[in-house]
């Protein structure tokens, strides 16, 4: 039989079994799509450092700056770098990079904020060669007023990347300086260092990140050991310096870092595991559907044998059918992938491109997966089943070992579904915790003004209170998030550093942020009678006040005598702890000084906006700003999403898992539908005989359902400890987490079991209603 005739036969076979074909093909498309995207993401991120030329010779210098138990950061003091480099002949070159925040440019009277503006040494390009789309890097390296803009940033400001020579007024840290665009560049797709704009001649004595490049042939491990043993002096003392490879640095999320991008290895591992699980579900589904569909085709294959078809002919036909199905699924999933890539990129905060997915780094893996997916079932099905008769096939499918195999496939699907569903719910609870905490920051916008810029905010804040869309306003010096100070803890040990959040604000600040006073009556009584009232939080009391003592009405200096800042300050209230950082970080002690801040050097206006009216209020704020401070760029901070941003990992995990759990459910239920249909068909005769002997509809439904009840129950027993064992350590790495509850397991069980029973009931009902005499005659 020619391939054309085979193709015709196969396609007609698909058409005749439209439902099976659509379900099998659909699950394959979804399975391949999900696995390809997540697989590409894992490969992309895991190899992010590999795309940097000579990346294996580049090390990042680190200096762990202790911030007590509360946080850690890495920082290299700029002027130290030449000294470090000169101490090691193995170092070829070095570069210092620092990031500036609150950067904006004015072009033709319009202001644009610049994200990720970097200042670096001119050697920066030896480490991270950025592709110049327009212009020459030389000018940026030598001219102090030259700036390089990333292509998308240039497009945003000028509407095109053709902007060489354009002048901009750039505001950095409040200083305005003129700059000229000399280069438009493009970030590499796999960027450890994502740059929005770059200045290469400014140097970065302030320090922040520092990279060194070793000479060719240097033994990396030996150098790192030598470096660690050298104990170079730093401002913090000896032995604080260390090195990290780019790979180590990328996956080190333990420190606060403004320069390099970091990726949580947990997300990568979970992404990889989820991809594997969905692949498993897709494979189980496909195998089950393949075996199921074969029953329909057994008769046809045997007729072909009667007509003279050889074993090779049958083998070729079955193999071609499977390969064609999977090949088409591959093509469709790639077409879909092209459309879904932007969504996936946004979800995962990554920049995957079709070019990357089709590159030598990813495509061979995907093709290998495809060959395995196509080859193994095709080989198994075509080799094993071609010689079986229909009754033997039924036996084959119903025999002990095969039945066990099918049960394992099906049970595996149930386990994966329950696991993904439960994990999703647990992570979702954690997200809910964040959202609940975030309620107090919802709709809040902060605007920051310094005294010498013009009239203070207090002069026009009452006007803002009456704008449309504004719910409430308050005034503080630097808001709730900007100021903190370190002091020595109770032990008196210099290493025992405790950081305190400092807020100086008006009294209505407490109500504005819904801060809950433990004894509000006492606070209300003390407040009018106190000259310098302060409110602290529960953590402050735990850290500094001896156990069992009520600090309300006491002087702060009684507990912190060495800090002049706290002199004459009286504690008038204690607020309950609330979170304003990542759930991984503990709540810091909070010190709120309730002052009249009308005459403060710096003022921050906090505005709470009604839902959906943010743009409108921002427009009014900008208009007012331009009227009051015409020489200053309008800059605001959106506090509303601050917690979600600080807990980005959890948000991302929830997004991935909600998507993949839904897909897994879809695949499982579609596969289940076909499998139940097949199983019921195999038992038609049995059902008819039972009916003849008096079985009721309910009894028949129960007989059909009970194997699935057992399947789901066993899957549940496997899934619960599995989820518990995996998720508890994950939750425990947070300082605060939503505990695992029964509902996290029961909801998936009820939904999964509900859908299963509904499927069995619908299919079983049809069979149970058939005329038993007809069924027996036919069977």
């Amino acid at each position: 039989m020619s391939y054309y005739q085979l193709l015709r036969l196969i396609i007609r076979g698909w058409w005749r079994n439209k439902l099976f074909t659509v379900v099998a093909w659909g699950s394959l498309v979804i399975g391949i799509l999900c696995v390809s995207l997540l697989g590409a993401f894992v490969l992309h991120e895991y190899r992010a450092d590999k795309v940097i030329p000579d990346g294996e010779r580049i090390l990042r210098l680190t200096q762990q700056v202790s911030m007590g138990e509360q946080a850690a950061t890495t920082f290299i003091y700029g002027p130290d770098v030449p000294q470090i480099v000169s101490a090691f002949p193995e170092i070829e070159t070095s570069t210092r990079v620092s990031k500036r925040s609150k950067v904006s440019v004015v072009y033709r009277d319009e202001t644009f904020s610049i994200e990720r503006f970097m200042l670096a040494d001119s050697t920066f390009l030896d480490f991270f060669p950025l592709e110049a789309v327009q212009g020459s890097w030389q000018e940026v390296q030598v001219q102090p007023d030259a700036i390089a803009l990333e292509e998308k940033t240039a497009l945003r400001i000028f509407g095109s990347s053709d902007c060489l020579g354009e002048s901009l007024a750039m505001t950095v840290d409040g200083d305005v300086r003129p700059m000229v665009v000399k280069v438009v560049f493009r970030n590499p797709a796999q960027a450890l260092l994502s740059v929005g704009a770059l200045s290469l001649s400014a140097g970065s004595d302030d320090g922040e990140a520092c990279f060194i490049k070793l000479r060719e042939g240097t033994d990396l491990d030996k150098f790192r050991q030598k470096f660690a043993e050298t104990l170079l002096p730093t401002v913090l003392g000896k032995g604080h310096l260390d090195t990290q490879t780019l790979h180590e640095s990328y996956f080190d999320t333990s420190v606060q870092d403004l320069v390099l991008r970091h990726r949580s290895l947990v997300i990568l591992v979970i992404g990889g595991v989820v991809a594997l699980l969905v692949l498993l579900v897709a494979c189980f589904n496909y195998l089950n559907l393949g075996l199921t569909r074969l029953l329909d085709r057994m008769r046809m294959l045997h007729i072909e044998v009667f007509a003279g078809a050889s074993r090779k002919d049958i083998y070729r036909q079955l193999f071609l059918d499977t390969c064609l199905m999977i090949g088409l699924a591959f093509i469709c999933s790639f077409l879909l992938m092209n459309d879904l890539l932007p969504l996936f990129n946004r979800l995962m905060d990554v920049e995957l491109t079709m070019g990357y997915i089709l590159s030598y780094q990813v495509l061979p893996w995907l093709l290998l997966g495809g060959i395995v997916l196509a080859g193994i079932p095709a080989f198994f099905i075509s080799r094993k089943l071609q010689s079986l008769t229909e009754s033997e096939y039924r036996w084959f499918y119903q025999g002990k070992i095969r039945r066990l195999l099918v049960s394992c496939f099906q049970g595996g699907q149930f386990v994966v579904t329950l696991v993904l569903f439960s994990v999703f719910l647990i992570i979702h609870s954690q997200l809910e915790l964040i959202k609940k905490d975030n309620l107090r920051f919802e709709g809040v916008i902060d605007v920051y003004v310094e005294k010498d810029w013009g009239p203070p905010v207090s002069a026009w804040m009452e006007e803002a209170r009456h704008w449309q869309g504004v719910k409430e306003v308050t005034l503080s010096e630097t808001g709730l998030f900007e100021e903190s100070m370190a002091i020595i803890g109770k032990s008196g040990n210099p290493e025992d550093i405790v950081w305190i959040d400092m807020v100086s604000c008006r009294k209505d600040f407490l109500d504005f942020y819904r801060l809950e006073l433990i004894d509000s009556e006492q606070t209300a009584r003390l407040l009018p009678a106190t000259a310098y009232p302060v409110v602290v939080n529960e953590t402050f009391v735990k850290k500094f006040v001896p156990d069992g003592i009520n600090p309300i009405g006491e002087q702060v200096s009684k507990y912190l005598p060495d800090e002049p800042l706290f002199d004459n300050r009286t504690i008038v209230g204690v607020v309950r702890d609330f979170r304003k950082r990542s759930l991984s970080e503990s709540v810091w002690p909070l010190f709120i000084s309730l002052n009249d801040v009308s005459s403060a050097d710096v003022q921050t206006l906090s505005v709470r906006v009604e839902e959906g009216r943010k743009a409108e209020v921002l427009k009014q704020l900008r208009r007012k700003w331009e009227e009051v401070y015409p020489d200053r760029t309008f800059v605001y901070q959106d506090i509303g999403g601050i917690l979600e941003e600080a807990n980005r990992d959890v948000v991302m995990l929830t997004d991935i898992l909600s998507l993949y759990a839904a897909i897994s459910l879809l695949l499982t239920f579609s596969g289940l539908f076909s499998l139940v249909r097949y199983t019921v068909r195999l038992r038609q005769r049995e059902i008819a005989l039972r009916k003849i002997h008096g079985a009721s509809l309910g009894q028949i439904q129960w007989i059909l359902s009970c194997s699935y009840v057992a399947g789901v129950a066993i899957a549940f027993l496997i899934a619960v400890p599995l989820v518990y064992a995996c998720m508890l350590p994950w939750l425990e790495h947070f300082r605060y987490y939503a505990p695992i509850s029964v509902s996290h397991f029961m909801i998936p069980l009820v939904i999964t079991a509900g859908v299963i029973f509904l499927t069995v009931w619908l299919i079983g009902y049809k069979v149970a209603k058939m005329n038993p005499a007809e069924v027996i005659k036919r069977e």
Binding site: L9, M300, H302, V305, G308
Partner: protein
Amino acid sequence: MIKTNNLQKVFRTDEVETWALNNVSIEVKEGEFVAIMGPSGCGKSTLLNILGLLDNPTGGEYYLNGKEVSKYTEAQRTSIRKGIIGFVFQSFNLIDELNVYENIELPLLYMGVPASERKRKVEEAMERMAIAHRSKHFPQQLSGGQQQRVAIARAVVSNPKMILADEPTGNLDSKNGKEVMSLLTDLNKEGTTIVMVTHSQHDAGYAGRIIRLFDGQVVTEVAL
């Protein structure tokens, strides 16, 4: 054309041993029309499967055109079967995915017959069975009689020397059954050997000889 000596077929499971054929010795000469009769479970279809090289016997000898074929492998059986033996079944056994023309064409495809010759032979077979006007129809669009005519056309399209028919009228009404039997008789008159399994005494009357089986053994052979 066909000769069997002490043909045996035993189906064994762990606990039960069933003798489907117990020392069956028969002979069918070229051009003969033989009917095999017997009650259900007497081994008629098993015998037909072995004669049609779809299955191997457990013991005994089977000579087809003078060659002992009982020990042949599946591949050998397939190559001998092509073009020599045609099959007609009670349940027609047409492929639902193929139309009338394509169903009839199927044996020629596996024989590797060139396209132009295939077309000629298929059209001839359709004309002969009076189903040319249904060539583009699919099996489910045909009546039972028409389906069986297509099945016979498929069986004869490669001009086999022998046709094995397993209850060819079992699913047909008397009018269509009579038509099918007339077709088989005509084929036999043209020289095709026919071995037919049937329950119907009436259909067996078309044959030249009746072999009766009981419990896997030949009990009588009657020439008509």
